[in-house]
């Protein structure tokens, strides 16, 4: 694309806890469709967004099996966004804060996620056209 941009987004929310996670993924989706490069710095609970051990589950209360429930799994959404970005000529560089990972035992992330520190966030931001910090409350 003629006007390729690089955007950095910092998030702090754990999956399933806030609409901020949804909005973040929506923004990444839009950027991926434009073929932008997207840097994501996941801090605190957000390191669990791409946690590889997430599993879909049935819903016994409503009598649905796993397939019927079709539960939203953030790690699968993130993997799909990475594929979408690549398909459109961009990429997602997802950096999990290493200390936050250790604190939460969230070591096993999906492929494409790397370990880093707040210094990476600064470097990513410096190398970007713009940065958005989606702060938690």
């Amino acid at each position: 694309m003629a006007d390729k941009k690089t955007i950095t987004i910092a998030i702090m929310d754990a999956p399933y806890e806030s609409g901020r996670s949804t909005t973040t993924l929506r923004l990444i989706d839009l950027a991926a469709k434009r073929g932008y490069n997207i840097n994501v710095f996941a801090y605190e609970g957000a390191v669990l967004q791409p946690f590889a051990a997430q599993k879909p589950h049935p819903n016994a209360v409503h009598g649905r099996d796993v397939e019927q429930e079709n539960h939203f799994i953030p790690k699968d959404a993130i993997a799909a966004l990475m594929r979408e970005a690549e398909k459109n000529g961009g990429k997602i560089d997802w950096v999990n804060c290493g200390l936050c990972v250790d604190e939460r035992g969230a070591v096993d992330a999906i492929p494409g996620v790397r370990r880093g520190s707040p210094a990476d966030f600064w470097q990513l931001s410096e190398a970007s056209d713009n940065t958005l910090v989606i702060a938690t409350r």
């Binding site: 006007d3 941009k5 955007i7 609409g19 901020r20 949804t22 909005t23 929506r26 923004l27 839009l30 950027a31 434009r34 932008y36 056209d129 713009n130 958005l132 910090v133 989606i134 702060a135 409350r137």
Partner: protein
């Protein structure tokens, strides 16, 4: 002209600090900046014409562009025809456009 996009994700019925974006937007607009307030998630709740929407109408009158995320409106069953005066529905692309164009984008 410097451009600002303030994103308000909180609603005044639940949070007592939504005045932050309103006050900042008012001051930035008064200082001759191009200012947009983008409401998202529960931040769209006061966009309904009625209780608490007066602050947004007043903000629009002060020169601030006030937009509400279409998706968030639909999620909450708020019809675009029922939005307060001065508030318009807009897609989330507004945020990405602002980032791509180098605006200062602040999340609250």
């Amino acid at each position: 002209m410097p451009r600002y996009l303030l994103i308000e994700s909180r609603d005044p019925f639940d949070s007592n600090d939504t005045g932050f974006c309103r006050d900042l937007a008012t001051q930035l607009a008064a200082a001759k900046n191009d200012v947009t307030l983008f409401l998202v998630q529960n931040g769209v709740l006061p966009a309904r014409s009625g209780a608490r929407s007066g602050d947004l109408t007043k903000l629009a009158g002060a020169g601030v562009r006030v937009l509400a995320d279409s998706f968030s409106l639909r999620e909450r069953g708020i019809e675009e025809t029922g939005l307060a005066s001065g508030v318009a529905a807009a897609p989330l692309e507004i945020v990405l456009d602002a980032l791509a164009e180098g605006a200062k984008v602040i999340w609250h």
